[in-house]
């Protein structure tokens, strides 16, 4: 009687019947449309990446040139001042 009560309580709580573990993975030949990767986001991502890398690299060059030119102006001024003494 007690066992039946426990079993009833377990079923009432929504416990699933135990399934056997999957032995391995098997390839699927025809993938359903809803499971296939959409091409458009991948294509858009590829173009976005190319643009981002190109613009990003040009921006880094611009920053580095700016930094060097500022330092160049400062050192040139110091050399000129020293030669003027």
């Amino acid at each position: 009687m007690g066992c039946l009560a426990v079993q009833g309580a377990t079923t009432a709580l929504g416990a699933q019947p135990q399934q056997s573990a999957q032995d391995g993975f098997l390839p699927m030949d025809d993938v359903p449309a809803e499971d296939q990767l959409p091409a458009a986001p991948l294509l858009a991502a590829a173009y976005a990446v190319v643009w981002a890398i190109a613009i990003g690299y040009l921006w880094t060059i611009w920053r580095r040139i700016g930094s060097v030119e500022r330092e160049l102006a400062d050192v040139s001024r110091r050399v000129t001042e020293r030669e003027g003494r």
Binding site: L37, L42, A54, I65, L72, V75
Partner: protein
Amino acid sequence: MNRRLFPVLTALSLVFFVVAPILIVRAPYEQEMGLIQKIFYFHFPAWMAMFLAVFVLGIASIIFLFRRKPSADRLAVAAAEAAIVFGLMGLITGPLWAVKSWGVWWTWDARTTMASILELILVAYLLLRNYGGAGSDRLAAGIGIFAMANIPFLYVSTTIWRTIHPPTSVVPTLPVDFGLPLWWSVAGFVVLCFAFLTARSRLEEQRATLDQLYLALEDD
């Protein structure tokens, strides 16, 4: 390098990149791959630009090793950086294409493996230049020549070894509808490569001038 060259090259490459999507959208869908095949119009040109940059690196490295011309060394550094940038474009657009058409993000076939190794060789070149100390410029030039020697093998890898990549015969035999957007994009990437080389070489020139000025300050 001529200061006026960079804005001209940048403007020209911008024209190519603005018109390219129009040609790409108008290009027909490929029968097997469909829409995802259109990554080809950026993926292939990125690698062509990378190969061009690596050839510039190799030739400039040879000139620097045997003639000791500082301008060749500066061009080599610029070319190495540009090659890494274009290689990065290729290594990112490739898996985005592969995951849809091959079903995997990456596979260690001959071409993809050699391309990754070439990218690492170029990174090694820059690390050596930045942290190698005295004499590293000549050692790096040797690496630059080695990188250039890899290019022919990388290009024919799909012919020599059995790979998942399409063979090299695909591009020369492309129908006009596919060929026009492809070669337009290749032209755009080549112009962009020269723009990168111009800008980056100028940075190296400015740094060399700065070094000379610091030496002049120390002498005083």
